[in-house]
């Protein structure tokens, strides 16, 4: 899984996205919002990369840039070794077909006026599956894969439950035989029992189709369940990336650590307390003002009595251990998980 020779399918370098910079001519500068700030990472063929972060950290924006439905402000995106900008016409359409997006809300991502058959056939037709028996066969196979039956083909989306719709959305994405799936919180609108069904479906699809998946989620448990590697975004910046185990069990960035400590353990026997927690993840978009984006909420910085470096020098993403990279000046000093409880108790009070 963590093999270094694994071929890279997506490579992002210095990707930055500002909102409010385009469209309106007369716009005041302050309205510009940097949703993504100098993000560099690669996605390998066949892996599941989990992308986690708080609300507004830029997860969706990154996903949309990958599938090409949002233009980045600067930086490069390479797909299969080719910059996506150089793709034109047929090539570009092929690219878009090979990278499919699944949205969070299964209720808005299906056209209420089209039957499931109509929706799926359109995708198959786009891939070039000829009409008639062959298409019918492909349709049947597809439905079976996502756990729906043929009887449902001629129904309209509103006749389905959320879980079923999410399956349909997945099936639609699969009609064009994609190699990459960008899934934006695909289960967060679903109920626990249904969520499990859909997560299982992801597992089996990946196994069967060898899909590469970017799994966008705010739920660390979901990321932990599906991902080979996990990337952590904070206010538009990539703060840590590494294998699942590295990030979940031996994270080196204080932000990642904070997220982990905040998640309820699910075990009533272990009393929880959140020594690392304060402040809000307000996406003020003013990242890049010099220091570390996390410095205002950083427990580690507090524990180290606020070293100046955190606010004057922007930490770069650097290799910590093999595949693990983190952007913290003191990454090596972040206590390992077991020691967290012994960290000098920083104010647990909620402040803003």
């Amino acid at each position: 899984m963590t093999d270094n020779e694994r071929s890279v399918i997506f490579r992002l370098e210095g990707v930055t996205k500002e909102f409010g910079a385009d469209r309106r001519i007369f716009r005041r500068r302050a309205e510009r919002l940097r949703a993504l700030d100098d993000v560099s990472l690669e996605i390998c063929r066949g892996e599941v990369l989990g992308l986690v972060g708080e609300s507004g950290s830029g997860k969706t924006t990154l996903g949309r840039i990958l599938v090409g439905s949002e233009r980045r402000t600067s930086g490069t995106v390479q797909f299969d070794g080719r910059p996506v900008d150089s793709l034109r016409g047929r090539r570009r359409r092929t690219f878009r077909r090979r990278v499919q997006m699944v949205f969070q809300n299964p209720f808005t991502s299906l056209n209420p006026r089209r039957t499931i058959r109509d929706v799926l056939s359109a995708g198959l037709a786009a891939r070039g599956v000829p009409r008639g028996a062959e298409r019918a066969e492909a349709l049947r196979a597809l439905l079976q894969k996502v756990g729906l039956n043929e009887a449902m083909l001629d129904r309209y989306p509103h006749e389905f439950s959320g879980g079923q719709r999410q399956r349909i959305v997945l099936a639609r994405a699969l009609t064009v035989d994609p190699s990459v799936l960008v899934a934006d919180e695909p289960v967060s609108a679903l109920d626990v029992s249904i969520q499990a069904q859909v997560l299982n479906l992801f597992v089996s699809l990946r196994r069967e189709f060898g899909l590469t998946i970017l799994m966008i989620t705010h739920d660390l448990r979901v990321a932990n369940f599906l991902s080979d590697r996990i990337a952590v975004l904070y206010r538009g910046r990539l703060v840590e990336i590494g294998t699942r185990r590295q990030v979940m069990e031996n994270s080196r960035h204080p932000y990642t650590r904070m997220l982990l400590s905040a998640a309820p353990s699910g075990d009533p026997t272990t009393p929880t307390h959140h020594p690392l927690l304060f402040g809000d993840a307000v996406a003020n978009g003013l990242a890049g003002s010099g220091g570390c984006v996390f410095s205002d909420r950083c427990w580690l910085r507090k524990a180290k009595s606020n070293p100046d470096r955190c606010v004057t020098e922007q930490p770069q993403l650097r290799v910590i251990d093999g595949q693990q990279r983190a952007s913290c000046h003191f990454a090596e000093e972040t206590p390992v998980a077991a020691e967290v409880a012994s960290v000098d108790p920083v104010s647990a009070a909620v402040t803003s």
Partner: protein, 346 residues
């Protein structure tokens, strides 16, 4: 029908809230939806009771009914709600108005959506005081400031002047908690108060609820779909499925040894945060039933893994199960006694 059998026994005089055989129907077109069906529960002073279940199982409807507020076309069709010994069903409109906010208050999922967008936070806090206890303007203001600082606002005077949308999601939820605790109510109903929030904010909010309990002895009914949250803050938990309570008991027992196959399935679907995940989840098949088409007999029977393993006994689809087990921890399942049936599933 009879899970209430145990309830009277469970009641010692200390119960703040006692709900007996409550049923709530919605008239949707020509059909009637039994959103809450013969539900009983009790909440002790200073107790945090979790109410878990999937979408549409009637959690919110039940929660709202505790304020005697059920949205039309819904209505309470049976049962009693006793609060501090008083029967809520007998109260006049005026008494109810005094009760709400002052003795029982409500926190909802989307804090922004429940705040009046055009008035300042300060006014929204003080108008509650005004409508309940009156008092001078300065006094009301002082109370509002105190409430805000108690939920961790470093500069409450400043925040009083903000409009709701100018606050972050976490701050909004904290304002709404401050508002619900303004008049130090005896019971707070928190309907998914953290569902829309990030884990970091969720942790802070849960912390605040626990604080309220310890400092004022407030009782809390926490409605959620997240067992991990329940595990973290609740003393007791009720699991609902399709308008009925299927299991009730102390948190620790339920999480470690669930009696009802549905509870067990929920637990199985709970993903681990640490350690290697399973390669596949044991997911419940099928879908959550539609409220206008609850299955007959045990409402869980079409999806029940236990029933399947037992060779689909007829009983499940014909007879409504009664509560099995002790008064402290019971489950409504015909086969709860099947030794190890649930455990082996886990």
């Amino acid at each position: 029908m009879n899970e209430s059998q145990h309830s009277p026994a469970a009641i010692d005089g200390d119960d703040l809230l006692r709900v007996e055989n409550l049923s709530i129907d919605f008239a949707v077109g020509s059909t009637t939806v039994h959103a809450v069906d013969d539900v009983s529960l009790q909440v002790e002073r200073g107790e945090i009771v979790g109410l878990v279940g999937e979408s549409g199982c009637g959690k919110s409807t039940l929660g709202m009914s505790l304020l005697r507020l059920v949205q039309s076309p819904g209505s309470i069709v049976g049962g009693r709600i006793l609060f501090g010994g008083r029967d809520l069903m007998e109260l006049s409109d005026h008494e109810l108005q005094r009760l709400r906010g002052q003795e029982i208050s409500l926190i909802l999922q989307d804090a922004l959506a429940v705040m009046n967008p055009v008035t300042r936070v300060g006014e929204q806090l003080t108008e509650v005081i005004r409508d309940h206890v009156g008092g001078s303007r300065a006094e009301r203001r002082r109370q509002a400031v105190a409430a805000l600082s108690s939920v961790g606002f470093p500069r409450p005077e400043l925040s009083l002047r903000s409009f709701p949308h100018q606050l972050s999601g976490g701050m909004q939820q904290r304002v709404s908690i401050a508002q619900s605790m303004l008049l130090e109510p005896r019971l707070i109903i928190a309907d998914e108060p953290t569902t829309a929030l990030d884990v970091t904010v969720q942790a802070q909010v849960l912390e605040l609820l626990k604080d309220a309990r310890t400092t004022h002895g407030t009782s809390i009914v926490l409605i959620t779909h997240d067992l991990a949250v329940v595990a973290e803050v609740c003393d007791r938990v009720l699991v609902m499925y399709a308008g009925k309570v299927v299991e009730s008991g102390p948190v620790q027992e339920i999480l470690q040894a669930p009696k009802h196959p549905y509870t067990a399935a929920l637990l199985a679907a709970l993903l681990p945060l640490r350690g290697d995940p399973p390669t596949e989840l044991r997911a419940l098949p099928g879908q959550i039933p539609q409220p206008d088409q609850w299955p007959t007999g045990c409402r869980f029977h079409p999806r029940c893994p236990l029933r399947q393993r037992l060779g689909n006994p007829q009983l499940c689809s014909t007879d409504v199960p009664t509560a099995q087990g002790g008064p402290a921890h019971w489950a409504a399942c015909h086969f709860v006694s099947e030794e190890g049936a649930v455990a082996s599933h886990d």
